[in-house]
Symmetry: C2
Subunit: 422 residues, 2 copies
């Protein structure tokens, strides 16, 4: 008989980010404002070449870089990163110990491990609207419900609304199913929004008052990708109201450096949760590629990382401004709205009159026909509620292509309005 | 209130391999014959330095190596690997298409994805006795039962016994819960055993006759680490009896080259299963570090990979012989038994008179006291049945340390016999 694995159930669901990335990589003539790729022309090629030379010359290339490493990650790298967080957040050493810090395959793996270890199918995780869409896919993959938090007009979480939501779960006896609150706290993917320290602190207080433990997953992947100044809000790790909450703070070294190295890092305040994630990581890969870790460790220690990051800030600012200005008045006059972000890789657009922008919409088709590609914003909402949003990434295209992509986008937008009028 | 995540349930279980590796890495004076690390002194330092130079000089360093890549892995690398499998197995291109091949974070991640996508809690996966112990941990982590296959004296699967086992499941109406058969088919970790082509082919026939689809996961991680000649058995991908079975063939490029790069590869004959694994991989990390892939791709294409591997074969043979001979007559005279393998990184010992060797045994303590560390063989059996086995790895120690570790091991063994006599 012929065996077919037709019953892979929910695990067969196609991944949107994978599909988008694959599509973008396969269409050379398409200008993609979709995938969150980083700038191609500024990749630190000479840095990496020099670092590999230096590691080889120092005699440290063999046993300590080309051999397996520890599951948790390289000691010195973990120590450098703990110091870095302490410095951002003004935390002293006794309150942030590197033993609770681990390295992963990008911060993506840490998000995956966090949900895999915390949640059972049917549980709930609180998310912002909008939120990082791959995180929504992770939840869906584990059969976990994304629970949309009520939001204020200014993009912050509506705390009174959140309190009512939690009370409702409590009164229904389901509060123990709410396992975590996920916060994209700096220059959010997709919206560019930053969570103020006041709101963050109030979230900590609200969660600490609950009768069941609710963990906080703070995704700070874009924290260092500000254009001019860091956003003035410490992470949850530094806030008193978070002291008794299980907190996972996660970020990446390679998005703001060389994404092909794929090294993320996380600090977890709860030892049970940390060990549980490390146990699963031990089964998934027992440790992130040691060589990639060694390169970023060397980049951090030698100051190359910060020098590169500093130059990237100006670059991304100019890319953001190029997209912003190229869309400019022509798009605004068609009724589109967006704000200028202060960091990150994205513009977050709202279409006029709620015009649909999802993957099945006429506008999406029109963009494809015009040779430009975007992430439909509905993917960033649990339940796809809002179909009038678009995420545009200016990370990977060069300035000329950004201008051309913007022209194509505006042309698509104009054609829709024409046909709407016609 | 103070929130504690005390209810992480089965996900909290400590991982044995992680614990062993961590322990080995933290004990500088201990000579570890435990962790399956590779040789330190032969790591291809100059290769990697040259490759990075060449990639940088060729102008291919930026966009195509330091940037994110495709979730499935680099096209050229996948094409080279498909060609490699076709050449080992004498398969023509029409029967083994690179579109079914993907790259992972070591072959470990592929094993993890395979089980995660195939199985639900309570399902069964058939395993050899002994089998790769981290695979047993993966099963346990997903609540999947490892179902021990009856084995012959010569280390091959007892096919008549396996047929009876499957009939029993069928008659109990549980055959649909048996999702896969896991085979470590070349120079097995831990036993060094190779599965003959005849047995493999008969397994294919037996599984093809079943009323429910049972996938085959063929773990060929050590296939290329033979000492003198490849083991004369094609993989399941080449066998007619496997034609209608879902097959995952998985191996690694970095165990036999530079384990710190962590690049594995797999061919999956079933498109549903393949897509399901890729979807989950998209959520876990959306693609293995592009830079690490680029290095091994360059090593393969330039012939450096094969040149290095060839030199490793002689090296591991001499390391195996050194351990084998250093344990030698003194250990055999104490009643210990083992066979000389023809490839791989392990000796697989049997203690005299069933003396216990597990982590809680007096012998294990005696070894620790004597400064030598091993993997208790019971970890390699589902249910830990056999407590008289030991896996010794000669991968990472140099020849001098292997001799010293063997002396310590023999001393521990002798002391046990003395105390047994006393």
């Amino acid at each position: 008989m012929q065996a077919k694995l037709s019953d892979l159930g929910m695990r067969q669901r196609p991944s949107d980010i994978t599909r988008l990335m694959t599509f973008a990589l396969e269409q050379p003539n398409m200008l993609s404002l979709a995938a969150g790729f980083t700038d191609n022309e500024s990749l630190p090629i000479e840095d990496v070449r020099e670092i590999v030379e230096e590691i080889a010359d120092s005699g440290a290339m063999g046993k300590t870089t080309l051999q397996y490493g520890a599951n948790k990650g390289r000691d010195r790298l973990r120590s450098l990163l703990a110091k870095r967080i302490r410095s951002f957040d003004t935390i002293d050493e006794s309150h942030l110990d590197e033993k609770n810090l681990f390295i992963s395959n990008g911060s993506q793996q840490a998000l995956y491990l966090a949900i895999q270890t915390l949640c059972d199918p049917g549980d709930f995780v609180l998310v912002e609207q909008p939120t990082y869409f791959v995180f929504l896919e992770i939840l869906q993959g584990f059969g976990v419900n994304a629970l949309a938090m009520p939001m204020r007009e200014d993009g912050e979480i509506d705390l009174a609304g959140l309190e009512r939501l939690l009370s409702q779960f409590e009164s229904e006896g389901n509060l123990d199913k709410v396992k975590a609150l996920y916060l994209v706290s700096y220059f959010s993917n997709p919206s560019g929004h930053c969570v103020s320290e006041k709101v963050k602190s109030d979230i900590g207080s609200l969660l600490s008052r609950q009768k069941e433990p609710i963990a906080v997953i703070e995704d700070a992947a874009y924290r260092e990708l500000y254009y001019e100044n860091p956003f003035d809000s410490r992470s949850g790790l530094a806030l008193e109201s978070f002291n008794h909450l299980p907190v996972l703070y996660t970020s990446t070294l390679t998005k703001p450096y060389a994404s092909g190295l794929k090294v993320g890092y996380s600090y977890c305040s709860d030892t049970n949760w940390l060990n549980s994630m490390l146990n699963v990581k031990g089964q998934q890969d027992f440790g992130t590629a040691n060589f990639a870790q060694a390169i970023v460790e060397h980049a951090l220690a030698s100051g190359r990382f910060d020098a590169h990051l500093n130059s990237l800030r100006g670059l991304y600012k100019s890319k953001m401004l190029t997209l912003h200005e190229s869309l400019g008045e022509s798009l605004k006059s068609l009724g589109w709205k967006w704000e200028e972000p202060a960091g990150g890789l994205y513009l977050w657009l709202k279409s006029p009159n709620g015009m649909r922008t999802d993957g099945e919409s006429p506008f999406h088709s029109s963009c494809i026909e015009n040779g430009v590609f975007y992430v439909p914003g509905n993917l960033c909402f649990p339940g796809n509620e809002d179909r009038s949003r678009i995420r545009l990434s200016f990370g990977s295209l060069n300035l000329e292509d950004i201008r051309e992509a913007a022209l194509r986008f505006v042309a698509a937008a104009a054609s829709m309005t024409d046909s709407a009028i016609a």
